[in-house]
Subunit: 342 residues, 2 copies
């Protein structure tokens, strides 16, 4: 009985889908997960009251009688009673240029920020109030707009690490934002492939993926604006993509009502994942058009549960093995979400 060998929709990325020795959700429940978790709640630098333990905020959302007010920490003063808070990473991988340093110098010019998603330590997207997630998404959009305006920035990566096994070093709900001086490889490849696709077929590759996955065996969930599904060549067990139904290139393309719908999609899908798999570690990353114009691109959010380890084969070849067929992931996630909604 042979396993499937599948290619990504656009990338030159191949994955073996184990139809032969596939694993079930209960194989991933991770009874030892708790022991690996980060236990730093007592002295959390991201919790309210500890604002001085981080660099000054480049963005805070504050509640006022007239709605949300946006601000930043200035003149040594740290804002209190914030709803979300975005600060420079204390150990940045990328830093703003000093004295006209440019990309050519081989230096990691850019920005590296942490978006603290809530004053509540454990208000992760899987359990967050929708209105709080709306603040988070709007925070992403504000930082994306600001960082994109810098002349040394070519791409802005917005991502999240959840759990120690996914690389999180603090357990307070937070995302990260990295602005890079070059377009990263995976994005560059997606951009080139979707451009070729448009030139050849006259339509958006991702819009066509949506059409073909809609109503199929890998569909997980949808609302008016967003469609969630397991990609056909999923590299990770229970991998999940959330894609806007409209052709939008980046997070700046859409309006407030769409933000609420995106918050709902993230809350529902990550809540389903957490319920099905005992709050698994995961990474997510937004794939968006780079700063420069790319009308052929279609932004989406890719969610990677960390339930298996990329070993010597994956690391040295760039080919992958996935022990959970995406059709099985989708069916299980879909029914879990339906039960939660009852």
């Amino acid at each position: 009985m042979l396993n499937d060998l599948r290619k990504d929709y656009l990338l030159d990325r191949w994955v073996v889908i184990a139809t032969h020795r596939k694993q079930r959700p209960r194989d991933f429940l991770g009874k030892e997960r708790a022991s690996r978790e980060i236990s730093n709640k007592r002295s959390c630098p991201f919790c309210p009251g500890n604002e001085r333990e981080t660099p000054p905020a480049v963005l805070v959302y504050l509640k006022s009688r007239r709605g949300i007010v946006k601000g930043r920490d200035e003149d040594g003063v740290r804002h209190k009673d914030w709803l979300i808070r975005c600060v420079s990473n204390l150990y940045p991988a990328f830093s703003p240029p000093e004295k006209r340093e440019s990309f050519k110098s081989g230096k990691a010019v850019g920005h590296h920020e942490v978006l603290i998603e809530s004053p509540n330590h454990s208000e992760h997207p899987s359990v967050a109030k929708i209105e709080q997630l709306v603040h988070v998404i709007n925070g992403y959009r504000d930082r994306l707009k600001d960082l994109s305006s810098r002349n040394y920035v070519r791409y802005v990566s917005i991502f999240r690490n959840h759990g120690a096994d996914a690389g999180a070093s603090l357990s307070h709900a937070h995302s990260q934002i990295i602005a890079t001086p070059t377009i990263p490889r995976i994005l560059q490849n997606e951009l080139e492939a979707s451009k070729s696709y448009l030139e050849r077929d006259g339509s958006c590759a991702y819009c066509n993926i949506l059409d073909s996955e809609s109503g199929g065996p890998r569909e997980v969930w949808e609302n008016q604006r967003y469609f969630a599904f397991a990609p056909s060549a999923a590299v990770h067990p229970f991998e999940l993509w959330i894609m806007p139904k409209n052709h939008e290139t980046t997070l700046l393309d859409f309006d407030g009502s769409s933000v609420i719908k995106l918050a709902e999609a993230m809350r529902t899908c990550l809540g389903g994942l957490s319920s099905l798999l005992n709050d698994p570690p995961y990474n997510f990353g937004f794939h968006i058009a780079p700063v420069a114009d790319a009308k052929h691109y279609h932004w989406h959010l890719e969610i990677y549960p960390r339930l298996s380890i990329w070993a010597g084969f994956e690391k040295s070849t760039g080919m992958y093995i996935n022990v959970v067929p995406p059709e099985d992931s989708a069916r299980n996630l879909k029914s879990t979400i339906e039960k939660l909604g009852d």
Copy 2:
């Protein structure tokens, strides 16, 4: 203070080298490592006496009065008193074709084998006797030759996972061999880049890497035939490459005396890594020319210690962050190896 942004010698792979917040070897000693280890020594399917717990061996080395004799398990009989033993993986990702199935069918046609490196449970390359490692390397070569002759095989990946955090599910010393029906992406990219290099510069890209790294700050160790160094755009902390000094395309190009020298290089480098970093989890993978002729390629062994986690940024962009500059890795590894040799 800006970090470096470096590109791989040949691949379109960028890595941030943290010169700003770099970490030292003692940060990686992994005091909790033991707890994550695989404790299955008591009923190990790879230990002598348990041969029936695996599929029949496709290759065994046996000691006889006239030297090493090669054989295979046949007719339900399992060889005993073997030196090394190669069996099909009980849960293969790739399997031989049934009834003329071809690559086009989208099936994972190929082979997936386990090479048991020693009858001694813990005879890992870092502590192995040189003569035992010679058997292991000759075992790789025998399997490579055999698998390469199948008409549905395009590439043979020989790799090793050491420790649970590197994806090993059994702790008995073993490697894996996967034969694929297509050339994996990383190899394909290296092949294309080294071909272009040859056409442009008239010389081998890897021979030139050897020349430029020799005697430099990233040199780790060498003997008459092999050179070990930390690559300039290392993606992993303490990443290490071992490369033949002669221009050789694959593991089948060299003779017995070179096998001994390779065993010595692996023993020395992996022994140094183990001593410096408290027996860290690691993967290694041989990068060799594919089955079809590729005279421009230059085989080498890449060793990736698993001391950091690829998180949302790495997974969604294909760009990497390495918190240990390869110059520091090399200096530490070099001095550790020198001390061990005293």
